[in-house]
Amino acid sequence: MPHEDYLNARYGIRSWLLTTDHKRIALLWLGSVTVFFFIGGLFATMIRIHLLTPTGYLVTPETYNKLFTMHGVAMIFFFLIPSIPAVLGNFLIPLMIGAKDLAFPKLNLLSWYIYMIGGCFVLYSFATGGLDTGWTFYTPLSSIYSNSAVTPAVIGIFINGFSSILTGLNFIVTIHTMRAPGMTWFRLPLFVWAHYATSMIMILGTPVIAITLLLVGLERMFHLGFFNPALGGDPILFQHLFWFYSHPAVYIMILPAMGVISEIIPTFARKPIFGYSFIAGSSIAIAVIGFLVWAHHMFVTGESVYAALTFSFLSYLVAIPSAVKVFNWTSTLYKGSISWDTPMIYAFGFIGLFLIGGLTGLFLACLGLDIHIHDTYFVVAHFHYIMVGGAVMGYVGGLHFWWPKITGRLYPEALARTAAITLFVGFNLTFFPQFILGYLGMPRRYHTYPPEFQVLNVLSTAGASILALGYLLPMLYLTWSMRYGKVAGQNPWPATGLEWKTDSPPPTENFDVTPEVTWEPYDFKNRPDLGLAAGAPSLAPAHGDD
């Protein structure tokens, strides 16, 4: 009997491009962010190959500068920021809170189109002269001195900002007004809490980067002087405005990944998460305190000593909620029933890498140390540990975890575990040497470097080739599994969330009847429907180590 779900409810290209179904829109996002991920990845590959030898191996300085700029722009604005919220968040938030859709389905589709338009502008900039300002667009390099295609790029990022804003707006309103009966705030999955916090940042921060880049664009087009010292403007003001968004933007990337991990760990340890309210609260705390720390990117710009002290102090405060999360995840494992399924491997990988990324943040927040390691490879390693080791591990882990729900199929388990371990090893080999490079004094964004740095650079490039393999593998077997994977069933793990109470893949309206929530989150003991009670027939399909 053919079962009707959101994938086969309607057919044809129009049914996808004009859909207002959050699940289909999530898949549109999945496709487009994957394209940008591989574009950014291609640039990264070329960067690593180029840095094999001190004099540079592959490209001219101009091209190298364009490569790292375009790598940053593609990865940050067009992959990392939308990745988890727009793909997993879009797909799961209505399912998790028991709603038929997001509050504003048309705005949701519009958000994707805005992203695509912004993306086209940026790709146009890449194709016609490239972009060589660094993803940070520091003035006056970006506003006057750069000869590359800065204007289309800033217009593209400006436009893309509204996509982010609309997604965040939709999530906030949905979480407030669309919850199913019984779904109280403290029964919300932690994934939803994390997305609530993320959306706050999107709403409050994104408009500032939009206006800032608009001013840079105007400055370039009409020779205005907001940030141009030759016309009385101030380049430091640009940095304040830029980092007011771009520091919290890091939390846009990492908070949703933390949400994913907070779902995976209780599921595969089969016990309630340790300190639910502390994890939920720490998400909000990170979102709020994250807005108070931006000028720690500016300790050596000549900002006032008083401001530097303030921002360093506040930066240390934001470490606390992050630490709370790590400790709570670890404690959740205590006396659990831990399975070694792929999402759990990703969760462990995430904790390990985020731990290093987060702890090295303490080095950079330290004023006395920052005067040495600022703008060196130490910083590069640090933020890759957070954004790639953290956010991307969370994203890929989340994709695996919810893949059965999204496609109705299971991925090949053994292959997936291999890929997860490959990613973890490759990542560390790539980026750990860069911490040492940084402390030794190698500045970032160098197309050529003194020969004494070569060994570590070669090591890093070698690691990157393993890392690349780790990304290609899931891409291949996940695609393969869409057609050939084992049929998953409603709740293969089993997990406790509302999204697992509907079919896989879910029907267009998500639930046949509006569900009513009567249980506490992550409660395995009092959920006979999960089939885990002793002696009860198991509803979960056997999930062996095939």
Binding site: T55, T60, P61, N65, D132, G134, Y138, P140, L141, Y145, S146, P229, P235, I236, A269, R270, K271, P272, F274, G275, Y276, V300, G302, V305, L309, S312, A323, V324, F327, N328, T330, S331, L333, Y334, K335, G336, S337, I338, W340, F348, I351, G352, L355, T360, L362, L367, G368, D375, T376, Y439, L440, G441, P443, R445, T448, P450, F524, K525, L532, A536
Partner: protein
């Protein structure tokens, strides 16, 4: 005495030991937490591995005392890091009043320094050991950053602002300095050497008795940078003008297909009437230096270009005629 941390550059300023101590302090704390958490995960991972398919974990919902502990303890440690870091930073941002003032100007893509007596240097900085030195930093175009790893200090050079930084070199020697704030195409080669000298040597060098100024090759090298020749004549051949490595005495292929031997006369002509002979593959972009250079300076430049004869010739961008086309 401080012992050197592994994986750290040489310690050559008053700040270096402090920064390395901070590094050690924070590393040890972080290592403790990293090892503790990782060990816990690995132990739980094996100890509580699921034994039967329907097994469920023990429902433990949390513990407020534990939560309080792991908020307060890290907070105290973090405040320690903040406090110590702040002490070093505040010291760094307040130069001693009697420091030696040296002006450093960054421009795309070179550093100009001016010693207290007016002596100018390009991509070089000479400082006396044991003396507080304050650099007054200014930029002519975009944001740069003056970074000396061996001193563990850096400061952005921001157009429209005067930033200052200070240090007290402790060990004579030559140390790399870098531009550490991305500033455009040749950001990576915008660096040079800090030379820390014994105070007596420094005084002698300042008064010119070291003979550096008298050497035409050195003077020519300075001029080559000062007149911004180097911004186009990039040694690795990637600039808007041909690399001059190995050019002297070689045959140069011109735009009209003919070749010319690069001798003193050709170089002089190229400096004063750049458009007289254009090297194949390049645009006539070079401004004339007629009336802007003294004879002595032209000679110095020629001497410098001669000295490049032994430098490696880049595969492309040199302007030297391929040997096969000699006949």
């Amino acid at each position: 005495m401080q012992s050197q941390l592994p994986f750290s550059p040489e310690q050559a300023s008053n700040f270096a030991p402090h920064v390395d101590d901070l590094m050690l302090f924070i590393t040890l704390i972080c290592l403790f937490f990293a090892v503790a958490v990782t060990a816990a995960i690995i132990i739980f991972f094996f100890k509580y591995h699921r034994k039967s398919p329907n097994e469920v974990g023990v429902p433990i919902h949390g513990d407020s005392r534990l939560e309080a502990a792991w908020m307060i303890v890290p907070l105290i440690l973090a405040m320690g890091m903040f406090g110590w870091g702040a002490v070093v930073y505040v010291d760094y941002r307040h130069a001693p009043p009697d420091a030696l003032d040296i002006y450093v100007i960054g421009k795309q893509w070179m550093w100009k320094a001016q010693q207290p007596n007016g002596l100018r240097e390009i991509n070089e900085l000479h400082v006396p050991a044991g003396r507080d030195v304050r650099l007054i930093l200014a930029s002519e175009d975009v944001i740069h950053d003056f970074f000396v790893p061996a001193f563990r200090v850096k400061m952005d050079v921001v157009p429209g602002h005067y930033n200052t930084m200070w240090f007290r070199p402790t060990k004579p020697g030559r140390y790399h300095f870098f531009c550490s704030q991305y500033c455009g195409t040749n950001h990576a080669i915008m660096g040079g050497w800090v030379t820390v000298m014994e105070p007596a040597d420094y005084a002698a060098w300042l008064s010119g008795s070291s003979g550096a100024e008298a050497n035409p090759v050195v003077a020519g090298e300075k001029l080559f940078a000062e007149k911004a020749c180097v911004t186009c004549h990039v040694p690795n051949g990637t600039g808007r003008a041909p690399s001059l490595n190995g050019v002297f005495g070689a045959k140069v292929l011109l735009a009209d297909g003919s070749t010319v031997v690069a001798d003193e006369a050709y170089i002089q002509e190229s400096i004063l009437q750049p458009n007289a002979k254009i090297v194949a593959g390049y645009q006539p972009l070079m401004p004339t230096f007629q009336g802007q250079l003294t004879e002595e300076q032209i000679l110095a430049l020629i001497a410098y270009i001669k000295s490049l004869q032994s430098q490696p010739v880049p595969a492309t961008g040199s302007g030297i005629a391929p040997t096969t086309e000699k006949r």
